[in-house]
Symmetry: C2
Amino acid sequence: MRVYLAGPDVFLPNPEARATLLKSVCSEYFLTGISPLDPLPNEPAEWAALPEAHRIARRNEAHIASCDALIANLTPFRGPSADVGTVFELGFMRALRRPVYGWSNTTTPFADRTRTFTHTTGTGTTDADGLLIEDFGLADNLMIEGAITASGGVFCSAKCNEAGQWTDLEAFRKCLAACQQLENT
Amino acid sequence: MRVYLAGPDVFLPNPEARATLLKSVCSEYFLTGISPLDPLPNEPAEWAALPEAHRIARRNEAHIASCDALIANLTPFRGPSADVGTVFELGFMRALRRPVYGWSNTTTPFADRTRTFTHTTGTGTTDADGLLIEDFGLADNLMIEGAITASGGVFCSAKCNEAGQWTDLEAFRKCLAACQQLENT
């Protein structure tokens, strides 16, 4: 089973080593991890003329379409929510009607993170600009967990200290175990 | 032509009035705007048993699938990037191979916004945690503009002061004009 590894892991120092590590953990669960950094077999020759950013975007879309499932690192990235590139890819795979999984290295609910970020006190329902603070007790914006659940995937979180935010793999492993189980059913 | 209006506009004060306004502007361009707040005709009866957040997520996915194109408000939302719920929906529609459009009320490049957010000085390529600052001169994460361009849509931005951030519709109108043009070709 081919699993696309979406996440801001590509922004970590030494992203190639990170991809190798994540793939090696996948193999422990008999899953084939596909990284956004992987070359695309038979990449269309005309893409060579595209600006690099656009070529990467097309390649990632093609990688996702070639996979059976997607596992997204949804650890909050520069703000209260997950990385938008990762969430784009989650939405893309969801529309292909394949299972999507998410993991995060925080257990703090989305609403609490948003309140902290916007300096909203107590259980305030709006921020200083009057914008609503979404509060359904979920891990992030409702489209994310809604899609994961509807697709048959699972969302897994782990409580990590700041040092473990971009290294801890407990929640990732929980996703892989669930994904392996799905494959065996 | 039915156009899904993705955006954090649902978090604005009086979101129903905002949806009515956006739809009314759509009609000037002979487009039918569909809001995430619209009831879904023939909503499956079994969804009544779902938690509200999950029901909204399913409804939004169904609305998107019922539309011919998607126009996303990508104005930065609580951080350097667009609202993740909006970007999920953009990725969803992109996978359906239909045209996606984006508009934003800032012209500041994504990399500059990220540097400001992460207090990175000069043209630094990483933040204080060593995480890469994506810098392709784009408006947001490369998956977003990559998808918009590949789909045949356009990205439009307008320079607004803070007061106009959630009210100005110049960039939105540019998207609608492009969308109307696409329909006529």
